[in-house]
Symmetry: C2
């Protein structure tokens, strides 16, 4: 790999001048500038990132900390993040914490050690890992907002409302809720958006909380079987919805004929299960892209106040809800 020194030697000029040219500093003549640029191109010069990092304290790499890549929610996000980052010349360093707080913590330590300039983080619990504090770099939360952090996510309230509106349209008023974990803001808002949209007209027959990974607790399974009076089951996300549908099918309850189900997220699975899932689509790619842009702003400069960027969601109607 050619170094700045090689360039300097080749052009017959000092390394400082070469550096100045490469960084677009003004104090260098047009002729020399040209020569340096030409030589750089000719030798295929690429700055040594480690050396730059050492001098400037910036690595032009960012961390992406996710709970679980095999959860079909994340790949699209990761892809969007990587691609926009790369377009900005940023390298993405991946941490998959496997849903564990220790993995998350270890990952952040590793990122800190490598001196990433910022991190995009989808937190797994509700605590703030110690390494994040000492990291002292901008952080943008993704999908899961928290007070005091910059975040980009979907308008969960709106999603809940759209679902409520659609439920009424399709003639459903007796609702069963398979909500996500109550300690996740995103789960709470999905639920509240739905429940508070038409409190008079929608009747919540029952509610059970399960994890976003979709595994059904004993309570959830029992409730589903009893099923009480609900004609529509509103799940906290697609994973939950899909598991519920499968569980019901095993017990000879057909969706949507016997009971309707909605999801949330429009993960890839929603399109391929049967019945295909009526759900709320988030603009995942846009979220990933925006998160990188936001992070880059923060990395570049001034301390921007920590607000959340919220994206509209849309209802995608498929076959898991019956008009009654």
């Amino acid at each position: 790999m050619a170094t700045i020194k090689d360039l300097a030697a080749k052009v017959g000029v000092s390394v400082a001048t070469v550096s100045n040219v490469l960084n677009g500093k003004p104090n260098v003549g047009a002729a020399v500038r040209q020569k340096v640029l030409r030589a750089a191109k000719q030798l295929g010069y690429r700055p040594h990132r480690a050396a730059q990092a050492m001098r400037k304290g910036r690595t032009r790499a960012i961390g992406l900390v996710l709970p679980d890549l095999t959860n079909p929610f994340f790949p699209q996000l990761a892809q969007a993040v990587e691609n926009t980052a790369r377009n900005l010349g940023l390298l993405v360093c991946l941490i998959d914490s496997q849903g564990g707080a220790v993995g998350e913590s270890d990952g952040l330590i590793l990122l800190a050690q490598h001196g990433v300039d910022g991190v995009i983080w989808c937190p797994v619990g509700q605590h703030v890992p110690a390494p994040l504090r000492t990291l002292d770099r901008p952080v943008v939360l993704i999908d899961r907002p928290r007070p005091g952090f910059a975040a980009v996510h979907s308008n969960y309230l709106m999603g809940g409302q759209l679902l409520a509106q659609y439920a009424l349209q399709q003639g459903h008023t007796r609702i069963g809720l398979l909500s996500g974990p109550s300690d996740l803001e995103s789960a709470r808002q999905r639920r509240n958006g739905f429940v508070r949209a038409f409190p008079k007209r929608l009747d919540v027959a029952w509610e059970v909380r399960v994890g976003f990974d979709g595994v059904l607790t004993r309570e959830a399974r029992d409730t589903l079987l009893r099923r009480q009076r609900a004609t529509l089951i509103v799940a906290g996300n697609d994973l939950i919805a899909i598991n519920a549908i499968h569980f019901l099918a095993e017990h000879h309850v057909q969706v949507p004929d016997d009971v309707s189900v909605t999801g949330f997220d429009d993960i890839s699975w929603a399109r391929i299960v049967s019945p295909r899932l009526t759900t709320i689509a988030q603009p995942l790619a846009a979220i990933g892209t925006r998160a990188v842009e936001l992070l880059q702003e923060r990395m570049a400069g001034a301390a921007i106040p920590s607000r959340a960027t919220v994206f509209d969601v849309t209802l995608v109607e498929r076959e898991s809800v019956k008009n009654i």
Copy 2:
């Protein structure tokens, strides 16, 4: 962040000595060694990776270059790679080329610039991108072997054979082949493993080649509808199988009642479609893990000959094949 200098000052010893302690060099007294270690722990010292990188020319980071994270085949692989890498103290830098050769090339340039110590690569085409040559770091291919490269992948031949054996068991002898692209070794071996297992007893009624992304060409669709005499369709991977099943369903051909279908890979989707897919499971996590281990060996030392590590596969029987 505490530096080696801080440690030196605190203990009252030179930086060289601190470095020697930290690197386990022998030429330092037991007393001093203890004191340095204690101080390091106390100050929470972490080596500055960029500085180390500059001096040693190693970054303790590796690249992971994938064609498409949203292809459900890759997340598990990526997760396994990240986790084992992290356990070895290696940071994983992700490149998602979106299936394009330019993205792949750009990504490799970015990785080279950051000086990753090696890369795990699932190549998208059959050419070798220029940046890979100049990178001059160990490379381990994953899932898609090529002559002259170290690689870790499944025993595709075996998968094809298992499928052939199972087909006969279930009474199928007239086969339709929806093979993967012929320029991919892995696709060829899947196909050949099947076709050559029982050439006398299995009769290939038709064969069409499609991409591993599963989108059905016009020819594939036409052939599926005519369907000729085949009772079993052997798809090159799960994506193809699932698309075929959906396409057939749209045209009122029921799987497995009217025709049976097998996949390959056992991606997450295979479990949730209906009918659930009978397919070949690859040990994805093991492959990812092994790839990292192999890479690390190569990064550490001697030029090991470039051979392929091959994992056994298993047949997972679900409901997409009917016994006739």
